[in-house]
Symmetry: C2
């Protein structure tokens, strides 16, 4: 989900405000100003998100057949989603810094755990559970939504990670290999650290996270990710997620047009082109 603004060529908010500060020759540090403005914009969006949710529920809920009990149950899922999202994001920050004691073999599991809590629940599972709960869906439908959401959410994030390294800049709106420059500890990278030969591993250690990677450095890193099988394994995980998402719908009493929409979403969210 991180890429949507930059894909359209917009700078991140903290950069935009830092540039405004520097151009205006205001007092103080442009980067600090940019960070403060971006934090406040984020807080504002967080407040507005809740305001939109609860005021829409109050205004349109009754005529949509959402009684007070359902509204409360749906709001509880919404609240859980926000809390788990913050915890998942902190897990990500912590994993990037501390590795959480995982040895090399544990890094893939850790990266997948981060995806689950930071992305999959928030991106797909909880939105479906909120809607289903408000609509009074049967427990079997909610269970299917959970299984579908977690599987598709992970596959979607894995696809995003692949595009972050191998994506076409014309489509992603970011320079080739930008995730490599940032040093993002994705599942793709964790797999490579586990599987690469000694030379490949050394290249990963030394080059990942260097902001000044050149085009040929990026190509060499891509080559490591391909040769050691990390890319193929990530594609295999994406395929497995796609199948699991589809199967979770197959046996559940999910009615049309929801079933077709959810199947279409599997294809769209995991397509090889962004």
């Amino acid at each position: 989900m991180d890429r949507s603004a930059t894909r359209r060529g917009l700078p991140a908010m903290h950069r935009a405000f830092a540039v405004r500060h520097a151009r205006s020759r205001w007092a103080g540090d442009p980067d600090q100003f940019g960070a403060a403005a971006a934090i406040l914009a984020g807080d504002l969006c967080l407040s507005w998100c809740d305001e939109l949710f609860s005021s829409s529920l109050a205004e349109f809920g009754p005529s949509a057949g959402i009684d007070a009990e359902r509204a409360r149950a749906g709001t509880a899922v919404f609240d859980l989603m926000r809390t788990q999202l913050m915890a998942g994001q902190y897990l990500d920050v912590l994993a990037q810094s501390a590795g959480l004691g995982a040895d090399d073999d544990g890094q893939v599991d850790l990266a997948r755990r981060v995806i689950r809590w930071k992305s999959a629940k928030y991106t797909v599972e909880h939105p479906l559970l909120i809607g289903g709960t408000l609509a009074g869906a049967e427990p079997e439908v909610l269970e299917a939504y959970s299984a579908y959401g977690l599987a598709l959410g992970e596959a979607f994030q894995l696809r995003d990670d692949v595009l972050g390294v191998f994506g076409d800049p014309a489509e992603t709106g970011k320079p080739a290999g930008d995730d490599l420059r940032e040093g993002k500890r994705t599942v793709l990278v964790a797999l490579a650290r586990e599987r690469a030969d000694e030379a490949g591993r050394q290249l990963l250690e030394s080059a990942l996270g260097s902001p000044d990677l050149r085009e040929d450095d990026v190509l060499a890193l891509r080559e490591v990710l391909v040769r050691c099988g990390a890319l193929a394994e990530t594609e295999r995980l994406i395929d497995a997620g796609v199948r699991a998402a589809e199967e979770s719908l197959a046996s559940a009493p999910v009615a049309e047009p929801a079933r077709t929409a959810l199947l279409d979403l599997v294809a769209t969210a995991t397509a090889r082109r962004s």
Copy 2:
């Protein structure tokens, strides 16, 4: 409101997490880790604040006589409060950096405007309006709450600013003159920039915001604030706020025990000792 944690000797959250990062010898920059953790903790508190408000309303509102219409009206005030708080905080950040085009004479008005939007509404006015709206208070009571809240909220912040420069470290829990080291553009400081003589003004320009101010620098700055009359004028503004808050209650139909509690709050929030 900024001082409550540091008054009890707790480090700010971003510092505590930076220290944890450094002590654990984790990868990356301790300060960046601390900032990320603190931002997420803030987001979590922002979410929980809303969750507490709306779930309490859903659970206890009906038995407290708060019907759906009142709950909606009270929630609208709550939402307005959050949006205005973010805007007020951004106004503060912007005023510190850009001065917003105000000349020297305009700085006092600007600093008072920041207090109004960042502190007074959020600290006193809106909490009273939320409670009053949920309880179905008459329009005259809500008007009195607004006048009371804005006047007391400003006076409270001005007292906090005075304590930030002249307060006893044993009581404030912060080193003497900490606001001077931070270079906070308070009303107190804006008044001094307007009124000090040339020597005093030069001292303010050169010393404010220097993190390494020594004890005697702080004493010299305090002397400027006293001699030019900025402290006395700030105390006069606090007194005027106290009187305005008291008068706004005098003519309004505010019943006991609320009236006495609100009058007690005026005294507590503006006392010369923290």
